[in-house]
Symmetry: C2
Subunit: 550 residues, 2 copies
């Protein structure tokens, strides 16, 4: 199901319920040092005025030659839906009806040849083309920038969503790029298979989008990042279809595949991807541990990975995120549950691990039952020795149930004029704590420089033998009238600190428009020039996704 | 220790002993249908005449500005040692003293800045530069081609062989590119660590060479191919040093790292590589199984990988390779051993698994003792159910002892005018048997078209969840006077068949000069053009390693 909410996340009518979470609002008010009474809903669609489409008569004729009428959309809702991704920066503008740029037309190709024709027409007639999957970018990756062209066409892959072929023997699947996460998993599950890629955006993002941005799913330790799952891919360009060789591995020069993965729509439009798939895991063991501190917890994660416990997921919240989760937890549904919860919390307090000052870690194993059981037992032993307390399956089941719903909560917070943003990086273990401390502090200082107080949360996830991803979330009352400036100051402070401490600009969100100004620092001058050379090769007329990545 | 044998493999004075292998010569004679009496030793070095170095006075002055006298080598032995790699095609020419091309000078940089200066001087003064690691290429990767320049400089990295830094917490090591395999492992072992990369060329090949060619070690299932071990790398180019960001993973556009890995010396000279390392495995479990057929064996390998038994090594020989190994096995050293061997062979015969018609599989596990034990037991169960008979550790220990010595045997065979060559590919499981059958047949037909009879062996190794590498070896009496034509006809027949059946040109040997004519079929026209665009960017003056890869 495509996202229907043009002004926020997900489906119209779906809300993140705070009714059974009585502790959350008071917790926020205490953290912010003020009461949260204001409410600022998004403007109605009707009040938004879009400039007329800039498509010329000649361009329109060319597009009508390629696409049937129902695949060419000029209406306001379509143009607004494709005007932005789903970052905080996007949503605060869209909610106010400030659409700075919208596509002049949205096209829905059904086959590769239409995309090649579109790119040729765009090159000939001076159009920019923005490839669009689920539109869930949080780094400005689908902004319809014109890049000096007369008009911009957003190319929505929604109709190219077929599972084309499963090779059961080789455990691979050929899939069209526009398929949404749930659709892909439903089709694979019918054959007892899974891709195992579950990013937070899963319900509304697409395979092509994942590949274009080097996405990571929550169980990436087991299944890999998306770039590890791709066997081969096809990309439509103005000069035809490029297809990489579908073999498990090779030694035939630089990896063409890894040059196209992560290209964020700048080189061409990904149309078809061959991915490795696996059997749906017969067994899952997800459980929670509590650690005295983030320092202890991250050392435990490192051991878990380096001692080959083979988890599928590890997620360690720092002290502030742990407190926030505790405040977000649902009130017990019965007196018995209430009692259990109290006993549990009393026990943690007694052990000096009360959730007001400790760190929660979720650890999950998936696969064949005996292996899962052994790995989970082995992992639990490693974590206990590293100072962790096993608190069972309870806390995980609520996380698991709600693992795709956090963006809905953001809509609630935006209603109440709260800035809520996330950013992430990846860094080696030897630099992890320094980066963690410095970035948390940089965000907090940037927040407080505006005279407000906020929450700065962090979790460690997507762990490797040599390092891990750190994911920061911050919430703070908006500085009214300067919402964008406030966001920008925090973002700049955080990003510069990440780079200074040896982190990467992004572990799985991508570069898009938001990280582009630092791309030379990420890759070095020569590295950036090499990437720009590729851009010129693949897109000599500079029609594809202007203003992103390079 | 650098390879000292200019005319063959390894160290002078080291031979592959056939004395205790009485069955091998008769086996070969039977396979070839003729007796092996001729003997053709390599010519003495003195008889080789090299043309004078084409380095001009001006070029020489420039080189003397960069390198001290002892780092600039003009003598015959050095020029001959760097005139070729170690392929059959190389050795038959070198043994006859036919050096078609040799470097005009060999330089030994000690630091990166010298390489940058060399490349700048080469660009200014019209020199070709061939980067050289251990010189073990079997695809013509280090041939000193001039590529239209006046002279060619071979840049030997042997003096850049330091282990610079170990990050124990992140389990990574920064290493100079010219380090030889044993030197690297010795230095890591002193810290209880290993890279785990053991290609057949291990004793004489370098880290930089592995990375430049996308090498695979024998335990690649556990440790990955070399491209999976690289965290970041540094490359010297005429416009300075390029360094990729040292993070475990990122989402910041196409992978620069994977654009430089496998670049075979065409983009720059790799100088320094940060690799993931692991503790030296506390436990190893290597054992052998016998399968009724290659068909049964390959299905068993697939199950082993897809059921997550986590082996480090799997190596399944086909029927003809199994027979050849049996013929190569050492005579028992005592009467008791003799008895044991006879009983073992009798038992196999009785089970219908005699080594004249069955397939040998070696399976190895490495790591923490309990995990190794469990995985080995689990793997053995999978293999037994798939029709395999566990025959214990014996056959593996002889393979393990001799796992780097096969190239020495090749020198013996060349002495006796026997063509011996290997080639390899990688293919998905669903196409594996078709490719195996077609390539074996194509090689055999090409051999027999010359009126001779030969051995065509194959083993499956480097297995993945979606496919595996197939490695073919063939031995056949030389067609005297047309040795090169004979080799070429077989190579062409094999390679065209590999490509037609969905294999890759190479899984771990690289493209070099030998596979270059098929590179457009491997990558497609557009893919090849993209790679050529990168070449033009990194090496605008076309000085680096002419005639290879693209």
């Amino acid at each position: 199901m495509v996202m229907s909410k043009w002004w926020g996340w997900g489906q119209e009518g779906v809300h993140y319920s705070l009714e059974r979470r009585p502790g959350f609002w008071p917790f926020l008010e205490q953290a912010f040092g003020r009461s949260l009474e204001g409410r600022k809903p998004p403007v109605p669609l009707e009040s938004i005025e879009l400039p007329d489409s800039k498509i010329t008569v000649e361009q329109r004729a060319a597009l009508e030659n390629i696409f049937s009428n129902d695949a060419l959309r000029w209406d306001k809702l379509e143009r607004v839906r494709h005007a932005a991704g789903k970052s905080y920066r996007d949503l605060i503008r869209v909610r106010e009806g400030k659409i700075e740029a919208s596509p002049d037309v949205v096209v829905y190709p059904s086959k590769e040849s239409q995309i090649v024709d579109l790119l040729r027409a765009a090159a000939d007639l001076g159009l920019a083309v923005v490839p669009f999957g689920g539109g869930t970018s949080v780094v400005g990756g689908v902004e319809p920038a014109r890049g000096g062209k007369g008009a911009v066409v957003t190319c929505d892959l929604a109709r190219m969503n077929r599972l084309l072929h499963i090779d059961h023997e080789s455990r691979t699947a050929d899939v069209e790029a526009g398929i949404l996460g749930p659709d892909l998993e439903d089709k694979l599950t019918a054959h007892g298979l899974t891709l195992g890629h579950f990013p937070q955006s899963f319900e509304f993002s697409t395979l092509g989008g994942w590949v274009a941005t080097r996405s990571a799913g929550q169980q990436s330790i087991r299944y890999g990042k998306i770039e590890d799952m791709v066997v081969s891919l096809k990309m439509a360009t103005a000069s035809g279809i490029l297809e990489t060789r579908a073999v498990p591995a090779s030694a035939t020069g630089p990896s063409l595949k890894q040059m196209l993965v992560g290209s964020e729509g700048l080189f061409g439009v990904l149309t078809r991807i061959c991915v490795r798939v696996r059997p749906v895991p017969e067994a899952r063991d997800y459980r929670a541990f509590v650690f005295p501190s983030f320092i202890d917890g991250q050392a435990a994660v490192r051991q878990l990975l380096q001692k080959e416990a083979f988890p599928a997921l590890v997620r360690l919240s720092d002290e502030e995120e742990t407190r926030t989760f505790a405040a977000l937890s649902k009130a017990p549904a019965s007196t018995l549950d209430e009692l259990k919860k109290r006993v549990g919390l009393w026990y943690l307090e007694r052990r000096g691990l009360g959730l007001q000052r400790s760190c929660l870690m979720l650890v999950g194993y998936e696969g064949e039952p005996r292996t899962v059981q052994r790995c989970a037992a082995n992992g639990a032993e490693i974590l206990r020795k590293a100072g962790g307390l096993d608190i069972g399956h309870g806390p995980v089941s609520s996380w698991y149930e709600e693992r795709f719903t956090m963006p809905y909560l953001r809509d609630r917070l935006l209603d109440h004029q709260i800035l809520v943003e996330t950013l992430e990086t990846c860094v080696s273990y030897s630099r992890l704590l320094a980066l963690y401390g410095a970035v948390s502090l940089a965000i907090r200082r940037a927040i407080e420089a505006d005279g407000v107080r906020g929450l700065v949360l962090c979790h460690l996830s997507h762990a490797y033998t040599d390092g891990a991803s750190l994911y920061f979330t911050f919430m703070v009352p908006q500085v009214e009238g300067d919402e964008m400036g406030q966001w920008k100051r925090i973002k700049v402070a955080a990003t510069e600190t990440i780079l200074r401490h040896g982190g990467t600009l992004s572990h799985h969100h991508g570069v898009g428009a938001d990280h582009r100004k630092w791309i030379a620092e990420e890759h070095g001058k020569q590295g950036l020039e090499a990437l720009r050379g590729l851009k010129r090769f693949f897109d000599p007329h500079s029609i594809l996704n202007p203003g992103k990545l390079l």
